[in-house]
């Protein structure tokens, strides 16, 4: 109930601000609502949403596929981590946006550089979460694993990985959030579809700020839905122990 009230107050504030300031450029909530309806009528919206989600799925999926094993290995072999970590720490703070020119050199214009940027953005948080997750596995679990005759690789697979999984999931959740931020930015530059492209295209072709804001709100709503989706993983029985409300 209360969240709805918050949204209602915000919408009212927005609506009356537009009326009071008499702006001709910035759309009111009603204009935006009409904008969404128009996008739906023209059947471009679903395609744009689909394109954005596909890019995130590819980039984030690849980051998970590479990042989790790399992170587990770095966490498992501290000696390797000592060599690799400085490089990671230098690369990590570079905004994926700064990679755009490089991505275009590597992959040209189109789908590939966008997916690459999402991959980069999601890769680092996943690796960092896995390294941290492995490092914080209680020694007692590893010892128990060895005691039952497991080889080091099996200790990693059957003890360290499940013990670190809650922390890894937190990393995946952060990575997915970042991936969604980056897909929009990437689509503003490298491709001609998707929600990011919709924002830029609506502004460039006739200053349709009603469509700009409509696309922005959709980006927010879908981002929320993605986050809620990945949070459902935290409710799985085999990881619930690792989250505060899970006991």
């Amino acid at each position: 109930m209360w969240p709805l009230l918050g949204a209602a107050v915000l919408l009212a504030l927005w609506h009356y601000s537009v009326i009071w300031t008499g702006t001709k450029v910035f759309p009111s909530p009603i204009n935006v609502e009409k904008g969404v309806a128009e996008l739906l009528r023209k059947h471009v919206l679903w395609a744009d949403i689909g394109d954005s989600l596909r890019r995130v799925a590819l980039g984030f999926g690849a980051a998970t596929l590479f990042g989790v094993p790399v992170g587990l290995m770095l966490g498992w072999y501290p000696a390797v981590n000592q060599v690799v970590n400085p490089v990671l720490q230098v690369l990590r703070p570079i905004s994926p946006i700064a990679w755009i020119p490089v991505a275009i050199i590597f992959f040209g214009v189109g789908e590939k550089p966008a997916v690459f940027l999402i991959f980069l953005a999601a890769f680092f948080p996943i690796v960092v979460a896995c390294v941290g997750g492995v490092a914080s596995v209680p020694a007692i679990f590893r010892r128990a694993g060895r005691n039952f005759g497991l080889s080091p690789m099996r200790v990693l697979a059957r003890v360290v990985f499940p013990a670190a999984l809650p922390q890894i999931l937190v990393g995946l959740r952060i990575a997915l959030g970042v991936a969604w931020l980056v897909v929009v930015a990437a689509e503003m530059i490298a491709v001609d579809s998707g929600l990011g492209y919709l924002v830029i295209d609506s502004r460039n072709s006739g200053k349709r700020y009603d469509l700009v804001v409509a696309a922005m709100l959709l980006i927010g709503v879908i981002g929320l839905a993605l986050d809620m989706g990945i949070r459902r993983l935290e409710k799985l029985r085999s990881v619930r122990w690792g989250f505060r409300d899970g006991a």
Partner: protein
């Protein structure tokens, strides 16, 4: 056994000679920090002795082995596995049928029927420790090392757990080495109590507990042995 910490050599155990017979229940007591756990870790193969060796059935211990399982004080069970998953953890080499039989047997032995599919977070402290013992016994070890297994439990649960452990030990005879700081626990459970001195620990005394199970803990012989043990540890038993 000598530890090196910050460049300093800290002798922890010195001149420990102990022979344990098959099926014996040994309790190790001593002042806190004296090296009781170090001794278990040496025997379990988790540490290598600076000098000397540990020999089990004529074979020098070189590392951890499923034939001797260490049971920890708490948080030793795997929280991501169910009761069944925990008990079956060391049984991946068995066939499915055998594994399920083994799991069912130990679920019953430690009285966790009805909790087969529960996760450790849904179990009480005592149940978790019973689960840890079941997981250890399931791989059919020759020796169990228990490192203050009931130390984190409340006193009533601890009493219940002692009789449970005795029941399990009598049902499935294994050699047990049990570290505790609880004098009563030692006299109630052990065939022999090994008293360690403070660090660097030596074996100060070995006390034979010549009372048959079930032990009457208010019998005069029990009280005599208990007082004897308190004396040896050097604690006054009048407060």
């Amino acid at each position: 056994m000598v530890f090196e910490r910050d460049g300093k050599r800290i002798p922890v155990l010195e001149d420990i000679n102990l022979e344990v017979t098959d099926g014996e229940f040994i309790c190790v007591v001593g002042p806190s920090g004296c090296g009781k756990s170090t001794l278990l870790n040496l025997m379990g193969g988790f540490l290598s002795p600076t000098s000397g060796s540990v020999t089990i059935a004529g074979e020098v211990v070189k590392g951890p082995d499923p034939r001797r399982i260490l049971v920890f004080q708490e948080r030793g069970v795997f929280p991501w596995l169910t009761v069944e998953g925990n008990i079956g953890f060391g049984l991946s080499r068995l066939s499915r049928v055998e594994r399920e039989e083994r799991i069912a047997h130990y679920v019953k032995l430690v009285r966790l029927e009805g909790f087969e599919h529960s996760y450790p977070s849904d179990l009480s402290g005592g149940m978790k420790q019973r689960l840890q013992v079941a997981r250890a016994l399931a791989v059919d070890p020759d020796i169990l090392f228990l490192d203050e297994p009931f130390g984190a439990l409340d006193s009533v649960t601890r009493l219940i757990m002692r009789s449970e452990l005795l029941r399990i030990w009598q049902a499935e005879r294994r050699t047990i080495l049990f570290v505790t700081h609880d004098i009563d626990e030692a006299v109630q459970l052990a065939d022999r109590v090994v008293v360690l001195s403070s660090r660097p620990a030596k074996i100060q005394d070995i006390l034979q507990i010549d009372i048959a199970h079930p032990r009457n803990i208010s019998s005069s012989r029990y009280l005599e042995l208990r007082d004897d043990l308190l004396n040896k540890i050097g604690v006054a038993f009048t407060l």
